[in-house]
């Protein structure tokens, strides 16, 4: 991390300031970042392992072992068809991560450039209205919450993982655009950008050399928080039957299917519920931890 940081330039004696930086960084690797990182790693490992090994075949139906409680053979028990719950949790982690990665990817790759453009245009007397128009369009998109857009997509196309990912991604564009815009405006107002302008650097070069590295931290934080939202939205949609379709394992649908056994087999609801909550908690904490690390002045935004 050697990019020029305006906060660090206050230090008068470089020799004295140099050792202080790593020390401060280490202290800030606090509980949120650690717990968040561990939870996210757990979900990722579950998903990766599921590609090479699961306790059972996810499609394997075993009528003799229907609705079993936890046992050495089935640590998390079995569902109404005798399918192993642990296997389904592991396979379900894949869909959760897939939806998160694709949705965040869409929102990040579209939203960040839009936000940077809006901020850059706002710098020019002729471009003010373009910047304003971009942000107005952004605000209108904000009136379409992820879940609603996903329901519309499910109505127009077939319900499925694809439309769900696209809808959550599109609905998350405004968040990235806002973060990128405010970060860019901050950077563009700094002395080193003024210096770059005086040196006749083109706006494009300034955006790549100065803006991108400096807003990367904020964008990563937004990505982490958006990931948590995507996990929630996918679970909610699958719960409604409008997301991931059978026979692909999904935590949201497991939760929905468990509803009729709440009285007799509550653990069928508890396992997928627990993992949804752990995934969301993990990405939220990761986002918080990263935010503290990238910008100590910012608490909860």
């Amino acid at each position: 991390m050697s990019e020029p940081n305006p906060r660090d330039t206050v230090a008068t004696d470089p020799a004295a300031a140099a050792p202080a930086v790593p020390e401060r960084r280490r202290r800030r690797l606090g509980a949120p970042l650690l717990i968040g990182g561990v939870l996210v790693a757990l979900i990722v490992v579950l998903a990766l392992v599921s590609f090479v090994w699961t306790p059972y075949d996810p499609g394997a139906v075993d009528p003799a072992a229907r609705l079993e409680s936890a046992s050495p053979a089935h640590p998390f028990g079995t569902d109404r068809f005798g399918r192993d719950t642990l296997t389904w949790i592991m396979d379900g982690a894949r869909i959760t991560l897939l939806v998160g990665v694709v949705a965040v990817g869409i929102a990040l790759l579209i939203g960040t450039p839009i936000g940077i453009l809006a901020a850059v245009f706002a710098q020019y007397p002729w471009g003010g209205w373009i910047g304003a128009a971009i942000m107005r369009a952004n605000d209108i998109l904000l009136a379409f919450p992820a879940l609603l857009l996903a329901i519309i997509f499910a109505a127009v196309y077939q319900p499925g993982t694809g439309p769900a990912m696209a809808a959550v991604g599109i609905a998350s564009i405004p968040g990235f655009a806002r973060v990128a815009r405010s970060g860019t405006l901050q950077v563009l107002g700094s002395d080193y950008v003024r210096a770059a302008r005086a040196a006749n650097r083109s706006p494009g070069a300034i955006a790549v050399v100065h803006v991108l590295p400096n807003i990367a931290g904020m964008v990563i934080v937004q990505a982490s928080v958006t990931f948590a939202i995507a996990v929630l939205a996918e679970a909610g949609l699958s719960f409604l039957g409008l997301g991931t379709q059978a026979p692909v394992p999904s935590w949201g649908r497991m939760l929905q299917e468990s509803q009729q056994f709440l009285t007799t087999h509550p653990e069928l609801a508890l396992w997928p519920g627990l993992f949804i909550a752990l995934a969301v908690l993990g990405f939220n904490l990761l986002g918080d931890g990263l935010r503290d690390r990238f910008d100590p002045k910012m608490e909860v935004r």
């Binding site: 369009a137 009136a143 609603l148 519309i152 109505a155 409604l240 909550a277 752990l278 909860v300």
Partner: protein, 315 residues
């Protein structure tokens, strides 16, 4: 001040117009057409053409758009191609149920979050504040439908205090109405309260660092008194913004809760219409939800100068 209100109103109308175009466009790009979808793939071309003519689906898109918007302005959402019934009464009945649940939930969330968040900020440095922060972090991670299932397990199936599903209109029995309201409202409110607590805490912490609080403390006020006399009003702006966003989120988020508790709200109607491929009904309900979201945003914009007199002149 009047210019500010007018400006916001024009923005509101503009957003409304653009949103209606987007919703209409999304529904019109459907592969195949609405009549074919409604009748199924076995329908003869004559039957499809007849249905199209009956509902004006053979008109050009611009005419259909104007028909649709014109009807909505007069409170007529049209006739469903699938059920053949009027859509407006369905929306009017169901939106009331959703409104009752959602408004009660946001009131409850604010009632929990404001004192809790303020307390967490004042007790920031000891275990009480840390516990509140940790609990709200966990609360945020629990989706409302999971909260609903857990509540049903404990308070309905185990303790038997509240019904696990169903809706009683207030006129049919006020006691049953209240009992049926408890679990859905708590399920929605808990998660939002957790989110809001964090914002209240951070807003109060920000305010406590302000110069006017230091001045008040220098004059001899205690921290708590300084906060109550000068701080809370200043902390209100970010909290109102978030609460507004949350109300909008709840409107849509209630879809899942209504399904779990089998409530005849607008979300249940939306899911049913999607399942029936009843596109005109989907279109109408989506538009109603978006209008409500935009109205909430508009009201939040108007609240800023009311809460903070400094914004009245700036605006």
């Amino acid at each position: 001040m009047l210019a500010y209100i007018l400006g916001r109103f024009v923005q509101f109308l503009l957003s409304l117009f653009v949103a209606s175009v987007i919703v209409f466009a999304l529904m019109s790009v459907l592969p195949g057409n609405a009549a074919q979808v409604a009748l199924g793939t076995n329908a003869t071309p004559e039957a499809v053409a007849a249905l199209e003519a009956r509902y004006g689906l053979d008109e050009p898109p611009i005419v259909r758009y104007l028909d649709w918007v014109g009807g909505m302005v007069q409170g007529d959402f049209g006739t469903s191609y699938v059920t053949g019934t009027q859509i407006t009464p369905v929306i009017v009945d169901s939106v009331q149920v959703t409104a009752i649940i959602v408004v009660t939930a946001i009131v409850l969330a604010v009632a929990i979050a404001v004192p809790l968040g303020t307390f967490a900020a004042l007790e920031q440095r000891n275990w009480v504040g840390a516990t509140i922060s940790a609990l709200s972090q966990i609360g945020i991670a629990i989706p409302n439908f999971l909260a609903a299932i857990l509540l049903v397990m404990v308070f309905s199936l185990t303790l038997g205090w509240f019904p696990s599903q169903g809706w009683t209109a207030p006129i049919e029995g006020f006691g049953d109405f209240l009992a049926g309201l408890v679990l859905p409202v708590v399920a929605l409110a808990l998660v939002q309260a957790a989110i809001l607590t964090r914002y209240v805490r951070s807003a109060v912490l920000d305010v406590m660092r302000e110069d006017f609080i230091r001045t008040a403390r220098a004059k001899g006020l205690t921290r708590t008194r300084a906060l109550f006399a000068h701080g809370l009003r200043n902390a209100a702006i970010p909290v109102i913004t978030v609460a507004g966003v949350q109300l909008a989120t709840l409107l849509v988020g209630a879809v899942v809760i209504e399904q779990i508790f089998v409530l005849p709200g607008i979300g249940s109607e939306l899911v049913r219409a999607v399942a029936n491929r009843d596109l005109l009904t989907v279109q109408g309900i989506v538009m109603v939800l978006i209008v409500l979201v935009l109205i909430i945003n508009f009201i939040v914009d108007l609240l800023y100068p009311v809460v903070d007199p400094r914004l009245r002149n700036a605006a």
